[in-house]
Subunit: 501 residues, 4 copies
């Protein structure tokens, strides 16, 4: 066992050792390949880097990226010097904002969590969670598309009792939603994805475990209550042996559905996130790096995802069926043609999704694609939805139970929610997750009553008007000169005293 | 008879008596159940709470919520100590704004009342009147929808005399509008709903009396002029005996139409109103309450409406016919299917309404639903509108006589106006109501002339273009980077001297 | 002949004489009927009021409103005391702005005149010219509608010479526009409408003389060059004898077309203008007046227009034909049905107009109605446009030659322009008018070249795409909470130094 | 050879000599004809004006505009006095901004170049590059139109390798773009168009050389690598002999395609640019000039373009075929009718373009016209695109590789990019161009993967939804009074401490 003192000697570019989770690693040769730059590693050269490492790497990132001979073994815990982290003024201001969070009971909706999270999260964490591809058009369209769907509620139906429980792939869910997979959960809270697992168990909803979790898969499964259903989201590795091991391990641990991500042959460029990386670096080094071809600007997520296989294709699906009996669902289908293909190949369903707007900008929203898929699968195969054997899901942009109910009315089995839950626990920890699910519960109850729907089965297509769902308009550019000249109308004004407005 | 001195002893959480309208009540056990929190009651423990109680409770709220044994009987008036109300700086600023109201003759339209009311009303009152459900999309859509309807005026018609009187359910109205039911009228002015009654009588329009008035039903009826027509809006009680008593009393008092609210099996979440409640409370208490399950965040209206029966359904309508001969109208119908059902069941009409946007967000506007209902009832039953036997009404979002004329052209018998009248009397008392009705009168005269319509019968469908009424579009999210880079055109500039703009 | 000294004695509410254009009038009994209030008259009691009177009254306003016995005859010029006008700080600032006008050569388009006029005109004058009905929706729509029409230009046509001269009612015009009738021209410049007459003569365009000119009809006709064509806009008087006299006088003076206004049975409420009146008055007096029933809030234009006959109708047209041989055109037609009626009754044309948005709000733009009229008159009567015997005009919202060319392509014979010319001479006097017409000339030349149209006849329907002309959309109300939470993308930033942006 | 001393004597309006590129010119008589005004020339009277002259004139401007007798021959270099340029405060601030440019590696997209260029370019240069016609509606529409096209990506296709190379007129291009012709390249950087030539060579894309380059044609051709393909953009001269010489010289120098500009019979009015000219002049002189008829307000580009023949027409195309064997492409076609004509006349293709919004405002975007052209040429001639024999190009508004991919999917062979490259080298010189092309390269790779398209041929029409491409909407004018009254929702707020937002 190595001593902290010994490790502390290797504190330079020439010999750089770091400690992560009690083990020592020689990263000297890895310095220039580190996606986050060498500077951040050198800061911890000879020291314990666990606290910095944890939130932005999956647990096994270091072991899989470093060759075994660089794994130098455990360190004697008591001998390790603590790293003094200097608290910047910005960090102090952030801590003050954390202390000033309003009471949780004043959080009235999912937007509120986001407003608080944006102020209390570290900038990098906020940037990673909130960022999306290119001009973030699709990211915002995901939410906006719901606003093109309007309700046609029914009256005079007995809604004394309303029941919004449903089943997803045959498993009970207390609401027609599930917690979708999102990466790097520890960025927002030290317990990371476990916050989601625990809340899911408590409130009877299903969590989809991400491949790029910052907690280990087994820890997440272990945190589930007895009988708690979990799904698994899979990025397929170029090395199918690894994928096979992961899938079969998941099945063995009781995972009830395998959601294979198909919209990310390469992880997207997210410029907000990329700009954040630069801020964290020594600018001169970044500039050089840029010209040397080691492009650090792509961000951690991009780097840790280099294993994803862009060669994955329809022919691979047979192989998946040969290695697992879990239901297979494609996550990231974006047109009816591919949904039809998935159906014809006997899959259990598709998630109509654009990856939260983080992949291809100008991809359409899941809710819009849902309308197209339902229409065409009825036309081509006579299917009606929701359908037990081939289930449709969508995700992206949800902020209100009414959003979910629109998707349900249109034929979705359930809707995935991601960022709002990250914001909930990033802002308020596990209580935030509780509150978030309570709010949704309360909104479902209220809005199903107001829709005139005592159960989920009563939420039907005729309850929504989707005639504008496919309308993607941009107004004619404004006439700046005309608008500058136009003098706005004013209403009656108070005399003299200061207006309140 | 109790003395004020005796009452004053019960001024703590252990024994808490209050005086309301000269009667003493023991509210000790009720403290924790009070929807507005215990704090506000304890402020008046042992004292006269009438002034605080009045505007935010229907007159019988305390008697119906407290068991009879807690009604301790009258107090000797002269012995009651006056509560010194501390005038806060905010309240002083508000009083200064009241003093600075512009002369009533400078109020040119209904918007002006709202602008003044917003500044001179107490914050809580403004929040209660102005708030709406969830993201207030429907609330604003109610107004916006009128802007998608354009006129096709006719020229060269003799409009020397224009007459916009009409009949509603067989009763004369000087204009094609009525004053619709709204709750808690005293929040804006001490005379509450009586302001509406008196103005209605004077100007020959019909008032719909609300179940949740802050004046008593009988006071409102008593305030009517001889022959003045009134309607009644009904929330149906879980206890039908109470409803029967109310309905039959209304009929006995001469009410000419019963408008049964069907869009509120549960009263909506109105977050502006809810945030206001928190401000009024001790935050720590609110937090605790939140976790104790007594949810004070729902606001007074929600609490006082817990009697409303979410089980009300079509089968109940027979019973209504058995207990009253008043014409029955459903208030809150939102699609043609339910309007057709109402017609087939022999009702006298429907109000196409979404409750001022205060119930289901993304419900469509009444004016939009009107177009659908007129089309479908013609197609399915051969009806044309306006129709004597089955009358269509709508409400929500009206600010101009032109809004009303659009609805009339499309087949409505009359249009309900709510908030603008509340703002009129909240800003200027009874004279405000007079002015509001004069303004509408003047706008009707002007605009019927300009439409080429000498009477209401001449206001016909071909006078409006509704081709975009069902268009619910949201522009593609803006390209922030492009827009940031675009340098706006500038027109010619003055040399050196300060621009006036 | 009265002496100034004698007049000066009558300087009170009890006996109030004023001098206008060298004549004395006893207005004592008229004080309370003056639409602009008594205060402004009393300021000039016993004095010469000409300078104040001139810009806001037609020349004969005082003689027609006062009974003959109140016309006290001429005053000896030299004996009249000059009124000292106190120059307010606001007026000083305005004079400074006038001095700071940029050189006329920097005025590049019609918008520029408006920008300067808004700053150098008196507030009242600006308010009168710029104001429109109700919420000014139609006023702005008039301009916006042109932005829904896009060009389909042709290339590789010889456009060495482009000729945009045309004929209007058989009379030559150097451009396909005319100067439309607008009231109270002296508000912007002491020469009033004569600025228009002179520029029209110089640049070969036709002026339409307004009934409510502030110069006298004869002065305007006298100012024309030999052979200069003028039209006349007519408000029809309740007293047809007066109208007959006016029309026959116009014909005698050589007017070539009679444009009968049909969209103003009552002059519109223009709230910007109305608010301005209040500012000019003693507020307490205004309040009283409001309650006394003499409604001063309606503005001068409304008052001076009380003679207009709201009873005018189609049957009156025969009578017009009996009193004049001038071509008759209806100004203010707003749907195809009325255009067809005008055609069937043998009129010479119609102006598709909503009176600059000053009458019925939510009336459609002239350019939009043009599309409908052309379609329907082709369908119903086989007409194609432009048509020699039945000419279509439109006005409202024009700021660029491209706007005009769109109307021409769609079948209009010519387009009326009003406010931009008022702003041109209000900002720069007669040189402003010259520059305005030169700018249009230059824009016509440029844009016809770019359209590939060597003459007006080559400007044809296939050169415009009008598929969205009838689209009146309002976006779904914004999601305020979502938008507040969205963090805008930022582009690359300069390091440290102050950004120029 | 003249001495600098001799030249220096001719330093007044009476005798004004200047030195440009080592030659002396007598411009005394030219002073008043100079489009940029005499003042700027007089500043250099008797001195070397090369530095001022270079960026805003094509190299041969002075020799072609001055008669030969005014060419006074070379000057002895060492005898010329250097002109001391006074550095203004504004210029100092600009130089500080240049020094503060962020490192090139932080430039993430083409927008970023524009943001930096706007701050570091001279105001005149920015105005010239960025300005567009009239209200710049078309200029912005060019970009906005791409936002009305959405993707329908395919999943589960092997995109391990993606190849976006293509051929343009038979010549290889590493990406489906080309560098389109833009004038006055030295305004942004002393090397002018050579920056484009060099980057094009290095990155394997094709440059279209402009007629109005500020480097000479031969210099640009000489700067090409062996085998590097270049196209030439042609403004046709009224004097066809000159055009013939230019065209045949181009062919001789190896130009592979002749793009004849057909959308500019007259160069457009660009008001931003025009306002900039005034700022640079003595205002009084400009005013006078304005009234003298020498209109200096039109800007340099307009002036140097007076040779362009507005008489160019379809019949001229035969002549072009007679003088060159280069493929002929029309640049600036804007409707299907003209594209069809070009096809029928045997041309090699058309560029669907509106000249970057710098010519006819309200011309539609190239991408919109592309949809129309593809539809109609299929209907009329059975063509499908991309088509080897008749190639379609478009340009204008491109900022992202996704924009280009939309055009490719719709049938374009390649897309022209102009301003973004000017901004790239204006901000960062040749490295800027490298970075710009690298960014595009990276975006193409990413987005073709995400589209599921391994090669350009896989980018097909069904991958885009263009249903709204022809929608040109303008929202109904806003209801100012309603909006002023509406109180925005607020989300949960931090207690007391300063919000970060």
């Amino acid at each position: 066992m190595l001593s902290g003192k010994e490790v502390a000697k290797h504190n330079s570019r020439d010999s750089c050792w770091i400690i992560v989770h009690g083990h020592v690693y020689d990263v000297t040769e890895f310095l220039d390949d580190h996606p986050g730059g060498s500077k951040i590693i050198l800061k911890y050269a000879g020291k314990d880097a666990t606290e910095e490492y944890d939130p932005i790497h999956p647990p096994d990132a270091i072991t899989t990226n470093l060759p075994p001979e660089k794994h130098l073994g455990p360190v004697e815990p008591d001998t390790v010097e603590r790293v003094e982290v200097e608290v910047t003024d910005e960090e102090k201001a952030r801590l003050a904002r954390i202390a000033a969070r309003p009471p949780l009971s004043t959080i009235l909706n999912l937007h509120d969590f986001e407003a608080i999270a944006r102020q209390v999260m570290a900038d990098k964490a906020w940037a990673y969670y909130s960022s999306a591809a290119d001009d973030e058009i699709t990211n915002r369209e995901n939410h906006a598309a719901y606003h093109r769907i309007w309700f046609r509620p029914r009256v005079l139906r007995d809604v004394t009792e309303v029941d919004f429980a449903t089943t997803i792939l045959g498993h009970k869910s207390s609401m027609p939603i599930y917690i979708t997979a999102t990466a790097l959960g520890k960025l927002g809270h030290p317990d990371g994805e476990l916050n989601l697992t625990r809340a899911a168990g408590k409130h009877g909803v299903i969590q989809m475990i991400p491949t790029l979790a910052s907690c280990s898969f087994d820890d997440i499964v272990d945190a589930a209550l007895p009988g708690q259903v979990q799904f698994f989201q899979l990025y397929v590795n170029k090395d199918r042996k690894i994928t096979k091991r992961i899938v079969q391990h998941a099945e063995k641990r009781g995972i009830k559905g395998l959601f294979i991500t198909v919209d990310a042959p390469q992880l997207g460029r997210r410029e907000k996130d990329m700009r954040m990386k630069f801020d964290a670096e020594d600018p001169s080094e970044v500039t050089q790096a840029g010209s040397e071809g080691v492009d650090r600007s792509q961000g951690a997520a991009r780097a840790i995802s280099s294993f994803i296989d862009p060669g994955l294709n329809w022919d691979d699906l047979k192989w998946f069926k040969s290695i697992t009996t879990m239901p297979l669902i494609l996550k990231g289908v974006q047109c009816w043609e591919d949904a039809l293909e998935a159906y014809d190949r006997g899959l259990a369903g598709v998630v109509l999704s654009n990856h939260g707007g983080r992949q291809l900008d100008f991809a359409r929203s899941g809710i819009e694609v849902l309308v197209e898929v339902v229409d065409k699968l009825k036309e081509k195969r006579g299917l009606t939805f929701p359908h037990e054997k081939f289930q449709l899901f969508c995700d992206g942009g949800v902020r209100r139970a009414t959003d979910v109910l629109k998707a349900i009315a249109l034929g979705a089995t359930a809707v995935g929610i991601g960022r709002p839950f990250l914001y909930a626990y990033s802002a308020y920890g596990p209580e935030g997750m509780d509150r978030a699910l309570e709010i949704l519960h309360s909104e479902f109850e209220m809005n199903m009553r107001l829709l005139g729907a005592p159960t989920i089965k009563h939420v039907v297509p005729s309850m929504v008007d989707t005639s504008n769902i496919h309308t993607h308009i941009v107004a004619v550019p404004t006439d700046k000169l005309y608008d500058l000249n136009y003098e706005s109308l004013q209403h009656a004004m108070l005399k003299e005293v200061k207006s309140k407005l």
